[in-house]
Symmetry: C2
Subunit: 120 residues, 2 copies
DNA sequence: TTGCGTTGTATACCACAGAACATAACGAGG
DNA sequence: CCTCGTTATGTTCTGTGGTATACAACGCAA
Protein backbone atom coordinates (compact mmCIF):
# COMPACT_ATOMS: atom_id res chain seq x y z
CA UNK A 1 0.00 0.00 0.00
CA UNK A 2 1.35 3.38 -0.99
CA UNK A 3 2.06 6.11 1.50
CA UNK A 4 2.33 9.85 1.19
CA UNK A 5 5.33 11.97 2.07
CA UNK A 6 4.43 11.85 5.74
CA UNK A 7 4.23 8.08 5.84
CA UNK A 8 0.47 8.09 6.08
CA UNK A 9 -1.57 5.68 4.08
CA UNK A 10 -3.15 7.31 1.09
CA UNK A 11 -6.83 7.46 0.48
CA UNK A 12 -8.04 6.96 4.00
CA UNK A 13 -7.46 8.21 7.46
CA UNK A 14 -8.14 6.28 10.65
CA UNK A 15 -8.65 7.58 14.15
CA UNK A 16 -9.20 5.78 17.40
CA UNK A 17 -11.65 7.48 19.71
CA UNK A 18 -11.11 7.71 23.44
CA UNK A 19 -13.67 7.02 26.13
CA UNK A 20 -14.86 10.58 25.80
CA UNK A 21 -15.34 11.76 22.23
CA UNK A 22 -11.90 13.22 21.42
CA UNK A 23 -9.55 11.02 19.38
CA UNK A 24 -6.98 9.29 21.55
CA UNK A 25 -4.82 8.22 18.60
CA UNK A 26 -4.51 9.25 14.99
CA UNK A 27 -1.90 9.74 12.30
CA UNK A 28 -0.56 12.90 13.93
CA UNK A 29 -0.06 11.54 17.41
CA UNK A 30 1.34 8.30 16.05
CA UNK A 31 3.92 10.14 14.00
CA UNK A 32 4.78 12.36 16.93
CA UNK A 33 5.48 9.32 19.10
CA UNK A 34 7.64 7.82 16.37
CA UNK A 35 9.61 11.04 15.91
CA UNK A 36 10.17 11.40 19.63
CA UNK A 37 11.40 7.81 19.73
CA UNK A 38 13.81 8.62 16.89
CA UNK A 39 15.10 11.93 18.16
CA UNK A 40 14.77 11.60 21.92
CA UNK A 41 13.31 15.10 22.08
CA UNK A 42 9.90 16.69 21.88
CA UNK A 43 11.29 19.85 20.31
CA UNK A 44 13.29 17.97 17.69
CA UNK A 45 10.23 15.92 16.82
CA UNK A 46 8.16 19.09 16.55
CA UNK A 47 10.71 20.70 14.26
CA UNK A 48 10.81 17.61 12.08
CA UNK A 49 7.05 17.73 11.72
CA UNK A 50 6.85 21.48 11.17
CA UNK A 51 4.81 21.80 14.34
CA UNK A 52 5.21 24.31 17.14
CA UNK A 53 6.88 22.98 20.27
CA UNK A 54 3.91 24.04 22.34
CA UNK A 55 1.51 22.04 20.24
CA UNK A 56 3.73 18.96 20.36
CA UNK A 57 4.02 19.29 24.10
CA UNK A 58 0.25 19.56 24.43
CA UNK A 59 -0.20 16.42 22.37
CA UNK A 60 2.26 14.60 24.62
CA UNK A 61 0.33 15.84 27.63
CA UNK A 62 -2.91 14.61 26.10
CA UNK A 63 -1.36 11.22 25.35
CA UNK A 64 -0.06 10.80 28.87
CA UNK A 65 -3.47 11.73 30.24
CA UNK A 66 -5.42 9.47 27.89
CA UNK A 67 -3.79 6.12 28.62
CA UNK A 68 -3.36 4.00 31.71
CA UNK A 69 0.35 4.75 31.87
CA UNK A 70 2.79 7.34 30.58
CA UNK A 71 3.43 7.30 26.84
CA UNK A 72 6.35 9.73 26.88
CA UNK A 73 8.59 10.49 29.86
CA UNK A 74 10.60 13.69 29.94
CA UNK A 75 13.59 15.19 31.69
CA UNK A 76 14.40 18.88 31.91
CA UNK A 77 17.80 20.14 30.81
CA UNK A 78 19.74 20.37 27.58
CA UNK A 79 22.81 19.05 25.83
CA UNK A 80 21.62 15.48 26.30
CA UNK A 81 20.88 16.01 29.94
CA UNK A 82 17.19 16.40 29.34
CA UNK A 83 14.96 15.09 26.63
CA UNK A 84 12.07 12.76 26.08
CA UNK A 85 11.80 9.00 25.84
CA UNK A 86 8.94 6.91 24.56
CA UNK A 87 7.87 4.25 27.03
CA UNK A 88 7.32 0.63 26.00
CA UNK A 89 3.59 1.35 26.27
CA UNK A 90 4.00 4.26 23.88
CA UNK A 91 5.90 2.14 21.40
CA UNK A 92 3.27 -0.57 21.61
CA UNK A 93 0.48 1.96 21.06
CA UNK A 94 2.09 3.54 18.01
CA UNK A 95 2.91 0.16 16.52
CA UNK A 96 -0.58 -1.13 17.21
CA UNK A 97 -2.10 1.92 15.56
CA UNK A 98 0.05 1.49 12.47
CA UNK A 99 -0.91 -2.15 12.33
CA UNK A 100 -4.58 -1.22 12.49
CA UNK A 101 -4.04 1.31 9.72
CA UNK A 102 -2.49 -1.38 7.56
CA UNK A 103 -5.18 -3.94 8.26
CA UNK A 104 -8.02 -1.51 7.71
CA UNK A 105 -6.40 -0.28 4.53
CA UNK A 106 -5.91 -3.79 3.25
CA UNK A 107 -9.45 -4.80 4.15
CA UNK A 108 -11.03 -2.05 2.08
CA UNK A 109 -8.37 -1.62 -0.58
CA UNK A 110 -10.56 -2.90 -3.40
CA UNK A 111 -13.61 -0.92 -2.30
CA UNK A 112 -11.51 2.16 -1.82
CA UNK A 113 -10.10 1.89 -5.30
CA UNK A 114 -13.57 1.72 -6.80
CA UNK A 115 -14.72 4.54 -4.57
CA UNK A 116 -11.83 6.77 -5.51
CA UNK A 117 -12.61 6.25 -9.15
CA UNK A 118 -15.78 8.27 -8.61
CA UNK A 119 -13.77 11.29 -7.53
CA UNK A 120 -13.31 14.14 -9.93
CA UNK B 1 -20.52 -4.10 15.87
CA UNK B 2 -22.05 -1.52 18.17
CA UNK B 3 -22.93 1.96 17.05
CA UNK B 4 -23.38 5.19 18.92
CA UNK B 5 -26.51 7.33 18.99
CA UNK B 6 -25.67 8.82 15.63
CA UNK B 7 -25.25 5.48 13.94
CA UNK B 8 -21.50 5.80 13.78
CA UNK B 9 -19.27 2.90 14.63
CA UNK B 10 -17.76 3.24 18.05
CA UNK B 11 -14.09 3.32 18.72
CA UNK B 12 -12.89 4.38 15.33
CA UNK B 13 -13.55 6.93 12.66
CA UNK B 14 -12.81 6.51 8.98
CA UNK B 15 -12.41 9.18 6.35
CA UNK B 16 -11.80 8.92 2.62
CA UNK B 17 -9.45 11.54 1.28
CA UNK B 18 -10.00 13.28 -2.01
CA UNK B 19 -7.44 13.91 -4.68
CA UNK B 20 -6.38 17.04 -2.84
CA UNK B 21 -5.98 16.64 0.88
CA UNK B 22 -9.47 17.48 2.13
CA UNK B 23 -11.71 14.54 3.03
CA UNK B 24 -14.21 13.72 0.30
CA UNK B 25 -16.28 11.44 2.50
CA UNK B 26 -16.61 10.83 6.20
CA UNK B 27 -19.20 10.02 8.82
CA UNK B 28 -20.71 13.52 8.66
CA UNK B 29 -21.18 13.72 4.89
CA UNK B 30 -22.41 10.14 4.76
CA UNK B 31 -25.06 10.83 7.38
CA UNK B 32 -26.05 14.04 5.63
CA UNK B 33 -26.62 12.15 2.39
CA UNK B 34 -28.67 9.56 4.21
CA UNK B 35 -30.79 12.18 5.93
CA UNK B 36 -31.40 14.04 2.71
CA UNK B 37 -32.48 10.79 1.10
CA UNK B 38 -34.89 10.22 3.99
CA UNK B 39 -36.34 13.70 4.21
CA UNK B 40 -36.03 14.99 0.67
CA UNK B 41 -34.74 18.28 2.00
CA UNK B 42 -31.41 19.80 2.89
CA UNK B 43 -32.91 21.94 5.61
CA UNK B 44 -34.82 19.07 7.19
CA UNK B 45 -31.66 16.95 7.15
CA UNK B 46 -29.74 19.79 8.75
CA UNK B 47 -32.36 20.20 11.46
CA UNK B 48 -32.29 16.48 12.15
CA UNK B 49 -28.53 16.60 12.58
CA UNK B 50 -28.52 19.77 14.66
CA UNK B 51 -26.52 21.49 11.94
CA UNK B 52 -27.05 24.92 10.44
CA UNK B 53 -28.65 24.98 7.01
CA UNK B 54 -25.71 26.92 5.69
CA UNK B 55 -23.25 24.28 6.76
CA UNK B 56 -25.34 21.49 5.29
CA UNK B 57 -25.66 23.37 2.05
CA UNK B 58 -21.90 23.91 1.91
CA UNK B 59 -21.31 20.21 2.45
CA UNK B 60 -23.68 19.41 -0.38
CA UNK B 61 -21.86 21.90 -2.58
CA UNK B 62 -18.55 20.27 -1.66
CA UNK B 63 -19.92 16.82 -2.41
CA UNK B 64 -21.24 17.85 -5.80
CA UNK B 65 -17.88 19.43 -6.61
CA UNK B 66 -15.80 16.49 -5.40
CA UNK B 67 -17.28 13.69 -7.50
CA UNK B 68 -17.64 13.04 -11.18
CA UNK B 69 -21.37 13.62 -11.05
CA UNK B 70 -23.93 15.31 -8.83
CA UNK B 71 -24.55 13.67 -5.47
CA UNK B 72 -27.58 15.76 -4.51
CA UNK B 73 -29.86 17.60 -6.92
CA UNK B 74 -32.03 20.43 -5.70
CA UNK B 75 -35.12 22.34 -6.72
CA UNK B 76 -36.15 25.73 -5.41
CA UNK B 77 -39.61 26.22 -3.95
CA UNK B 78 -41.54 25.01 -0.98
CA UNK B 79 -44.47 22.89 0.06
CA UNK B 80 -43.08 19.89 -1.80
CA UNK B 81 -42.39 21.93 -4.88
CA UNK B 82 -38.75 22.29 -4.10
CA UNK B 83 -36.42 20.11 -2.15
CA UNK B 84 -33.41 17.90 -2.58
CA UNK B 85 -32.96 14.41 -3.97
CA UNK B 86 -30.00 12.11 -3.62
CA UNK B 87 -28.82 10.78 -6.96
CA UNK B 88 -28.10 7.09 -7.55
CA UNK B 89 -24.41 8.03 -7.43
CA UNK B 90 -24.94 9.65 -4.05
CA UNK B 91 -26.72 6.60 -2.71
CA UNK B 92 -23.96 4.36 -4.00
CA UNK B 93 -21.29 6.55 -2.41
CA UNK B 94 -22.95 6.63 0.99
CA UNK B 95 -23.60 2.90 0.92
CA UNK B 96 -20.06 2.18 -0.20
CA UNK B 97 -18.68 4.32 2.59
CA UNK B 98 -20.78 2.55 5.20
CA UNK B 99 -19.63 -0.78 3.81
CA UNK B 100 -16.01 0.32 4.10
CA UNK B 101 -16.65 1.43 7.65
CA UNK B 102 -18.08 -1.99 8.48
CA UNK B 103 -15.26 -3.87 6.79
CA UNK B 104 -12.53 -1.77 8.35
CA UNK B 105 -14.16 -2.04 11.74
CA UNK B 106 -14.47 -5.79 11.45
CA UNK B 107 -10.91 -6.16 10.24
CA UNK B 108 -9.44 -4.46 13.27
CA UNK B 109 -12.07 -5.29 15.85
CA UNK B 110 -9.81 -7.52 17.89
CA UNK B 111 -6.85 -5.12 17.74
CA UNK B 112 -9.10 -2.22 18.58
CA UNK B 113 -10.46 -3.99 21.62
CA UNK B 114 -6.97 -4.63 22.93
CA UNK B 115 -5.96 -1.06 22.11
CA UNK B 116 -8.95 0.43 23.88
CA UNK B 117 -8.10 -1.55 26.97
CA UNK B 118 -5.04 0.67 27.33
CA UNK B 119 -7.18 3.76 27.61
CA UNK B 120 -7.73 5.34 30.98
C1' DT C 1 -53.41 36.22 -3.63
C1' DT C 2 -51.48 34.88 0.40
C1' DG C 3 -48.72 31.95 3.06
C1' DC C 4 -45.46 28.38 3.85
C1' DG C 5 -41.29 25.89 3.21
C1' DT C 6 -37.85 25.42 0.32
C1' DT C 7 -32.98 26.68 -2.04
C1' DG C 8 -29.45 30.01 -2.42
C1' DT C 9 -26.57 33.95 -0.82
C1' DA C 10 -24.70 37.63 1.87
C1' DT C 11 -23.12 39.44 6.14
C1' DA C 12 -21.84 39.66 10.82
C1' DC C 13 -20.45 37.53 14.74
C1' DC C 14 -18.14 34.16 17.76
C1' DA C 15 -15.54 30.38 19.59
C1' DC C 16 -11.62 27.83 19.25
C1' DA C 17 -7.29 25.85 17.44
C1' DG C 18 -2.98 26.68 16.60
C1' DA C 19 0.96 29.84 15.75
C1' DA C 20 4.05 33.13 17.43
C1' DC C 21 6.51 35.00 20.97
C1' DA C 22 8.35 35.39 25.57
C1' DT C 23 10.32 33.56 29.71
C1' DA C 24 11.62 30.62 33.47
C1' DA C 25 14.00 26.55 35.31
C1' DC C 26 17.11 23.21 34.51
C1' DG C 27 21.21 19.94 33.27
C1' DA C 28 25.36 18.77 31.01
C1' DG C 29 29.58 20.16 28.83
C1' DG C 30 33.16 23.29 27.87
C1' DC D 1 30.67 30.33 35.26
C1' DC D 2 28.66 30.38 30.83
C1' DT D 3 26.37 28.64 27.05
C1' DC D 4 23.44 25.62 24.72
C1' DG D 5 19.41 22.89 24.17
C1' DT D 6 15.97 21.10 26.58
C1' DT D 7 11.16 20.97 29.20
C1' DA D 8 7.40 23.72 30.87
C1' DT D 9 4.25 27.50 30.90
C1' DG D 10 2.03 31.98 30.05
C1' DT D 11 0.30 35.49 26.83
C1' DT D 12 -1.19 37.30 22.72
C1' DC D 13 -2.66 37.16 18.07
C1' DT D 14 -4.73 35.52 14.03
C1' DG D 15 -6.99 32.49 10.87
C1' DT D 16 -10.88 29.91 10.25
C1' DG D 17 -14.79 26.94 10.83
C1' DG D 18 -19.23 27.37 12.10
C1' DT D 19 -23.38 29.72 13.85
C1' DA D 20 -26.80 33.17 13.62
C1' DT D 21 -29.41 36.18 11.07
C1' DA D 22 -31.42 38.26 7.27
C1' DC D 23 -33.24 38.26 2.80
C1' DA D 24 -34.31 37.23 -2.11
C1' DA D 25 -36.36 34.04 -5.48
C1' DC D 26 -39.25 30.50 -6.05
C1' DG D 27 -43.13 26.85 -6.26
C1' DC D 28 -47.05 24.73 -4.63
C1' DA D 29 -51.36 24.65 -2.03
C1' DA D 30 -55.14 26.66 0.14
Amino acid sequence: MRKDDKGRYRGLTLRVLGRGRPPAMGPGKAELIERIAETGSISAAARAMGMSYRRAWQLVEALNAAYRGPVVVTAIGGERGGGARVTPLGRRLAAAFRAMERKASAAIAADLKRFTRQLR
